[in-house]
């Protein structure tokens, strides 16, 4: 009689459903997964070690590249850690701008997740729709910071610059005729805030579109309901956070429970799941997008009425503006010192956590009083989630592994760091 033994499948690192560079060793019994062993680290760039050799501000750009689908949220935790150690508070307007962009980032992240998750388990269309909306928000990123993705917009003490009064326009070209260009420019006639307001008007209908494609879809439900169930108790043990924890029915959101910046002045709700399966987490994230939309609208209303500084006037932290530097020697010195040596942060250690789109993203910063961090530790939400992979996929079919990778919202930039 033939010997029956388990079969080992090497899933990734080059696999379209592996969300980057996940190498997954799957021990299969027929089509059932007996054991999953994720091998990570293929995208390890030693961000934490690199940060130790750079002045504080130069590492903000590295933070963008951690979770490269929610760029500004990563920066947010990092600049908040520096601010905590230095004991500075950014101006109110800067805080509102940060919160607004943090929520825009959350929408960006969830759109990316929804598209990729849909694509992974066979819903092609959603991907095309979500990327259309992502494009609108990327343009907002570009208008405010000059970069579509890696913005480096949040700085200790505020944000890099105030919101622009005009939006860049599409020009006539061999590929875009006059009529088409005018069409594309229709919502770009006012300021960035007008542009975003226009987006928030339309966006709830877009979510309705996605939901009409998926929520009651028979195939979607077959692929997600009852897959990857994690009980609330277990989710806490495994260090879950964010939508992964809320999907299991734990009402926990740092924006509400440990409010930072201006979240305590804003009105929004925390969606919570019931069973803790992929479908519940899907519903939680969909509702989060609606809530984020609501927060963005509140921020726009506040920002329209309250002009003011967006950066501290402390030249030990924030560079002086260009015009002052032309005639003020002291400003020039400040600028030179800031961009060569950086600034010294008082000795101490701080942990600052934010509600990142993926969960709790924290920066543990140790400073020995130098102009460079002594140690930076990045607490990435996805790392804890992926470590539970074995437990979540055990006993499921091979095809469900893909659904579970999707529901964990894995991005290797932050897991491997």
């Amino acid at each position: 009689m033939a010997e029956i033994r388990n079969y080992t499948v090497n899933f990734g690192p080059q696999h379209p459903a592996a969300h980057g560079v996940l190498r997954l060793i799957l021990e299969m019994d027929g089509e059932t997964v007996v054991r999953a062993d994720p091998h990570v680290g293929l995208l390890h760039r030693a961000t934490e070690k690199l940060a130790e050799s750079k002045p504080f501000n130069q590492s903000i750009g590295y933070m963008d590249r951690l979770d490269y689908v929610s760029m500004m949220s990563n920066e947010h935790a990092y600049v908040m850690a520096i601010e905590k150690l230095m004991g500075i508070t950014p101006p109110k307007r800067a805080q509102y701008i940060r919160v607004m962009f943090a929520e825009i980032t959350r929408i960006l992240n969830h759109l990316m997740w929804l598209g990729a998750h849909g694509l992974d388990i066979g819903a092609m269309t959603v991907f095309l729709y979500t990327f259309r909306e992502r494009e609108t928000l990327m343009d907002a990123y570009e208008a405010v910071s000059g970069a579509r993705m890696h913005a480096t917009y949040f700085r200790p003490g505020g944000v890099y610059r105030d919101l622009p009064e005009t939006m860049p326009q599409y020009k006539e070209s061999p590929f875009t005729d006059k009529k088409k260009a005018d069409e594309l420019n229709a919502n770009r006639q006012g300021s960035l805030l007008d542009y975003l307001w226009d987006f928030t008007e339309k966006f709830p209908d877009c979510i309705n579109d996605y939901e009409s494609l998926l929520t009651e879809n028979r195939i979607w439900k077959q692929r997600t309901v009852g897959v990857g169930i994690v009980q609330a108790e277990r989710a806490l043990q495994l260090g879950f956070s964010g939508p992964m924890l809320r999907g299991s029915g734990v009402e926990w959101d740092l924006r509400k429970k440990q409010p930072y910046e201006v979240y305590d002045e804003l009105e929004f709700d925390i969606p919570v799941g019931k069973t803790g399966d992929c479908y519940d987490r899907y519903l939680v994230r969909m509702e989060e997008m609606r809530q984020s939309n609501k927060i963005v609208r509140q921020c726009i209303e506040w920002l329209r009425q309250n002009p003011g500084p967006v950066m501290l006037d402390n030249h030990k932290v924030a560079p002086p503006n260009r015009e002052t530097m032309k005639h003020d020697m002291e400003a020039l010195i400040h600028h030179f010192k800031l961009f060569t040596e950086g600034y010294c942060v008082p000795e101490g250690e701080a942990y600052s956590a934010i509600e990142h789109p993926k969960g709790e993203f924290g920066i543990y910063l140790v400073s020995d009083g130098a102009n460079k961090p002594y140690r930076v530790k990045i607490r990435a939400a996805g790392f804890a989630h992926l470590s539970a992979m074995n437990e979540m996929v055990k006993g499921h079919m091979l095809a469900d592994v893909v659904a579970i990778i999707g529901t964990q919202d894995i991005v290797f930039g932050e897991i491997d760091r």
Binding site: E48, Q237, W252, Q258, E349, E360, A370, N371
Partner: protein, 230 residues
């Protein structure tokens, strides 16, 4: 909110804590290696503490803590590395154990955080694993082992996680160079990838700044000190 926490911890654990302090609104508890498991189990199980989530485990290597190399009289091409503000007292050298394992805990029931620190020796550093108390310690401890070479006793699967298969050394230690020790290239003759000692030189891109003390006495830097960290 956290003021009672310091007091609470003092009441419950009394003398078994090495230190317990609050700074920047964060409570840090220092424990000894032998008490770690007992204290952690109580931190999780006692109702008035209830730290049911282990958020993070990490290591800090205090080898070069407080050192700087800002002092110089001439602008050099090699650049400067670390510098500290002169107003702050400079520590001669780190007086305590080299490694600190740092645990970040979160209590959802009481909505508060706690940092637990445990200093361990430099020679064959090891510490008991908390994996039986919090399952999330699994990968965090693997990462700390990989990057710092700390042995977590009782961990069932202490493999490297971040670095390459067959990697030698523990890269996040302060005495490991930023550019590493080996480089990888494809060798056409042998038709395989080969590892070789690094050929590029470490450098600093920021130019060295001339600095003087307030009383005009001039610092003199040893020339070999500059530009060692990439």
């Amino acid at each position: 909110m956290s003021e009672p926490l310091v007091k609470q911890l003092g009441d419950i654990f009394e003398d078994s804590l090495v230190a317990c302090e609050e700074a920047l609104g964060e409570v840090t508890v220092e424990v000894s290696k032998d008490d770690l498991l007992d204290i952690c189990r109580q931190l999780r199980d006692q109702d008035e503490l209830a730290f049911e989530q282990l958020i993070d485990v990490t290591v800090v290597d205090y080898l070069t803590y407080g050192q700087d190399e800002w002092a110089t009289t001439e602008a050099t091409g090699s650049g400067f590395s670390r510098g500290r503000e002169e107003s702050q007292p400079v520590r001669k050298s780190w007086q305590r154990e080299r490694f600190a394992v740092v645990y970040h805990l979160l209590s959802i029931a009481h909505n508060r955080r706690l940092r637990v620190k445990c200093f361990i020796k430099e020679n064959r550093p090891s510490i008991p694993s908390v994996i039986d108390i919090w399952a999330s310690a699994n990968w965090y401890e693997r990462e700390a082992f990989d990057l710092f070479g700390i042995l977590f006793l009782g961990h069932p699967d202490l493999r490297r996680i971040m670095t390459d298969y067959g990697f030698v050394g523990h890269p996040f230690r302060k005495d490991f160079p930023l550019i590493g020790n080996v480089e990888l290239r494809f060798d056409a003759k042998q038709n395989r990838c080969v590892y070789e000692p690094v050929s590029i030189e470490p450098r600093v891109l920021v130019p060295r700044v001339i600095r003087k003390k307030k009383d005009e006495t001039v610092y003199v830097a040893a020339p070999e000190q500059g530009g060692r960290d990439g």
